[in-house]
């Protein structure tokens, strides 16, 4: 029996959308990939992050803020549905600086953005002493930090598992190990898989991360996205060392300190490199000298799903109305928005968020 929605991609983005739709009473079938697929959902840094998002597009800053504000309820709803905690902590986050001039430039940029956001951009600048009071293990090379109060972090793997559990628990059908080869319109849609499986649905959401590079054009999307590698490190479990997260390091709920991340344009190569690991380790030790004695237990390379301007893409297919592309780099930050607000956009209700700036119209045909 056809579902109301077929969702291509069972990562955090696809499952968040599926969860939101199920909560509105729609029937949903999720098609998920294999164990070895590129999965940003398994490799991301886990920040629920506002600062520095949308420096050139305040609508993106707003969208991130709206999601961050909805995150606590979203996490509570997953907990109630599954008994699973996703480790959400939203007590602010840092942008650490090792030089005065970078800090000053960043503050100037934030002031400009703050003005465009009608002043809703709650951050403060911490000098070395103030920072030391907040983070006793911070090192002397850190000259200051921007503390943004809307920032936080969660455990992205617990989030993925909770969503997988919640979607199934609410009656969603999830097919794993599927490689979607195409989508045919037949009044509704028929999603076709390499193994012969077909799934009928009234609407289709393409949220397959980098899988949309190949599939997108077949559904009428430009899908101008690319992989960007981020190497990430995590230490053995340590006693409390870091209170608030930053882009340099955060201490996860199990105790390990996670350190990130490189930004490398290397195509579909998700390996780690010794120079990459060493660079990140050096930066982390500069920020928190006590980390020098910590053992690295795991590292990985994950591929970001990036559009040319780094912003999400929300687009209905011009050639296949009822098919939607939903893709973004910040699937964790935006998970709450995707679950709570995107269903209105997919259904075109009066409450639909205005996502016009995130359409593919912004990518000129070259």
């Amino acid at each position: 029996m056809p579902s109301d929605y077929a969702i291509i991609g069972g990562g955090v983005v696809g499952l968040s959308v599926a969860w939101g739709l199920l909560n509105r009473g729609f029937t949903v079938t999720v098609l998920d990939g294999g164990d070895g697929s590129y999965r940003a959902s398994r490799g991301n840094f886990g920040l629920v992050w506002v600062q520095s998002k949308g420096m050139n597009q305040p609508r993106y800053a707003r969208w991130s803020q709206r999601s961050a504000a909805a995150w606590a309820d979203f996490a509570a709803e997953l907990r109630d549905a599954t008994g699973r905690h996703v480790g959400l902590q939203q007590t602010g986050g840092y942008d650490l600086h090792f030089a005065e001039d970078t800090l000053e430039r960043k503050v100037a940029d934030y002031e400009a953005l703050k003005a465009k956001l009608d002043g809703d951009y709650p951050y403060e600048v911490l000098g070395p002493n103030a920072l030391k009071r907040e983070e006793p293990h911070i090192g002397p090379k850190v000259v200051g930090a921007i503390l943004h109060h809307q920032d936080g972090h969660a455990n992205p793997l617990r989030l993925l598992a909770a969503l997988a559990d919640a979607v199934r628990g609410r009656g969603g059908s999830v097919l794993t190990g599927k490689a979607v080869t195409g989508v045919a319109a037949n009044g509704g849609f028929r999603v076709e898989c390499a193994d012969g499986t077909t799934v009928g649905a009234g609407k289709v959401v393409l949220s397959a991360g980098l899988g949309a590079i190949a599939l997108g054009p077949r559904l009428g999307f430009k899908a101008p996205i690319r992989p960007q590698r981020g190497q990430v490190l995590i230490t053995e479990k340590l006693p409390r060392l870091i209170n608030r997260p930053s882009l340099v390091a955060r201490q996860v709920d199990e105790g390990g300190v996670q350190i990130g991340a490189t930004n490398e344009e290397v195509g579909f190569d998700d390996r780690t490199t010794q120079p990459g690991l060493s660079r990140l380790a050096a930066q982390a030790v500069n920020a928190y000298p006590a980390l020098a004695k910590a053992q690295l237990v795991r590292s990985w390379g994950a591929l970001r799903v990036l559009s040319p301007d780094g912003l999400p893409i929300y687009q209905e297919s011009p050639s296949l109305p009822g098919a939607y592309l939903v893709t973004c780099h910040s699937g964790v930050t935006l998970a709450a928005a995707h679950a709570r607000f995107l269903p209105d956009w997919l259904e075109g209700t009066p409450a639909a968020p205005d996502l016009e700036v995130f359409s593919e119209d912004r990518f000129a045909v070259s």
């Binding site: 598992a161 930004n263 780690t272 990459g276 660079r279 990140l280 237990v297």
Partner: protein, 464 residues
């Protein structure tokens, strides 16, 4: 370190033989080994220990001195205490020694990383006092230590070896709790003719059994429902055998039900593996020379599939001959002439394996443990957690790892990987090959951030 022609990882029989053969062909060899002294686990610390305990350990052990002597020669940089944590293209091998990170590079790589004992997750197996039988062997070989009140549990020839050595040293084990059945032995019978080509091996086995029987060590066969009980350390082994529940008080439990290839290094560089149904484990796919599908990478010894020390030594020599020929340092005709007798010898030495694999299969309840049994010792994940993950759509170990942390700890899945694959395969109705294995990434062994940071050359392009 300087550029070498070949890097050999592991100084057990395969690695030592490979290094000696490669150096003999004029290659510059870096032999990286994490132990302070050469020998691997089978010949652990043999140079220091052979004279002291040769009588207990037997000629099969003291034989290792021939191999350690072979690597003390020009052309071999034996780097002891070198813990390899990353292997990258090139090949660039990063390792830690004395708290400092270093690297070696070479166009050829021979992995001789040996075997691990097959994980044997039974209730209580994480308690202090419970060890793998190989650990008991190592304590005896290297440190001259014998457990006073030990029970040996599981199946396989190593069980008899350690029991016989304990008998010789005057501290026989309290009991052997054996999981194989008479049926296994009967089924193994069809391999007996082949095994007789390696009759020396069988004769040694019978001799060990004789020693154990003469010492009146109780043997319980076909044991099931095995558990170790105790609060903060092992106090007793409980099991069923002969239709009865039994309990044996003890201080030490040695577990063993076979050894499996240590594939961590090979997997970390993308070498293809396949499931070996006879040995119940994954093995790397290698050709007759030990070459893998990754150009320039060879695997020799037990890390390419369990064959034992003699087979490992031969495989090391064969791989080194191929590496030398590929580098243009040995004529192809010479390579083939030298390899031919080694191949015949290897076939003879391997003949006993099918019989042993069939006669001493793994303990079934440890391949598919009860839900409450801990299977990932590092992160304390149970078999039931893995089955729950399967129910949430985890068709392979990497998604299951993300969902439940199995394999995320410092051992990198060495002692849970095969169990996770087996449980998922069973739960999903898929084969082990379809299910797959953990993606192994650096660090192969933990390395401190301080060591990593010290290697940073300040190149800002690498990050941000």
């Amino acid at each position: 370190m300087n550029q070498h022609d070949v890097i050999v990882v592991g100084a057990g029989p395969a690695g030592m033989a490979a290094a000696a053969t490669a150096a003999g062909a004029g290659l510059r060899v870096a032999l990286l080994d994490e132990q302070p002294r050469a020998g691997g686990q089978i010949y652990r610390d043999v140079d220091r220990v052979a004279d002291r305990r040769g009588a207990i350990l037997g000629a099969d052990f003291t034989e290792g001195r021939r191999l350690t002597a072979g690597i003390r020669r020009d052309g071999i940089d034996h780097v002891d205490g070198a813990v390899v944590w990353a292997i990258e293209d090139g090949f660039r091998v990063s390792f830690t020694r004395d708290g400092c990170a270093a690297q070696a590079t070479a166009p050829k790589l021979i992995l001789a990383t040996g075997a691990l004992e097959r994980p044997m997750p039974v209730p209580g197996w994480t308690l202090p006092g419970v060890m793998m039988a190989g650990a008991g062997q190592i304590l005896l070989k290297q440190s001259g230590m014998l457990a006073r009140r030990a029970v040996i549990v599981g199946s396989g020839p190593l069980l008899y070896l350690i029991a016989a050595q304990m008998v010789r040293a005057g501290t026989p084990p309290l009991a052997l709790v054996e999981t194989q059945t008479r049926g296994d032995l009967v089924r193994a019978g069809r391999h007996l003719a082949g095994a007789l080509r390696g009759a020396g091996y069988l004769a040694k086995g019978l001799k060990m059994l004789g020693e154990i029987v003469r010492a009146r060590v109780p043997r319980h066969a076909g044991a099931t429902d095995i558990a170790i009980v105790g609060d903060d350390r092992a106090k007793a082994v409980t099991f069923r055998s002969g239709g009865r529940s039994r309990s044996i008080d003890c201080d030490t439990v040695f577990l063993h039900h076979g050894v499996v290839p240590n594939t961590q290094a090979a997997r970390s560089i993308g070498v293809a593996h396949r499931w070996d149904a006879d040995q119940h484990c994954f093995v790397p796919i290698v050709d007759a020379w030990g070459a893998t599908d990754v150009d320039g990478v060879f695997i020799a010894g037990d890390s390419a599939g369990i064959g034992g020390a003699e087979v490992a030594e031969i495989a090391g020599r064969i791989a080194a001959l191929k590496a030398a020929a590929d580098l243009g340092r040995l004529a192809q005709a010479d390579r083939d002439r030298q390899a031919a007798p080694l191949r015949r010898q290897r076939d003879r030495q391997s003949a006993v394996r099918p019989f042993l694999d069939a006669a001493y299969p793994p303990y079934a309840a440890a391949l598919s443990p009860a839900d409450t049994t801990c299977i990932c010792r590092c992160e304390e994940v149970t078999a039931g957690d893995i089955r729950t993950a399967a129910g949430l759509g985890c068709i392979g170990p990497n998604q299951a790892k993300a969902f439940g942390r199995a394999g995320m700890g410092p051992c990198q899945g060495r002692y849970c990987g095969l169990t996770v694959t087996a449980i998922l395969a069973e739960a999903n109705g898929r084969t082990p090959d379809e299910t797959g294995y953990f993606r192994i990434r650096p660090p192969l062994k933990p390395v401190t951030l301080g060591e990593l940071a010290a290697m940073d050359d300040g190149d800002r392009d690498a990050a941000e």
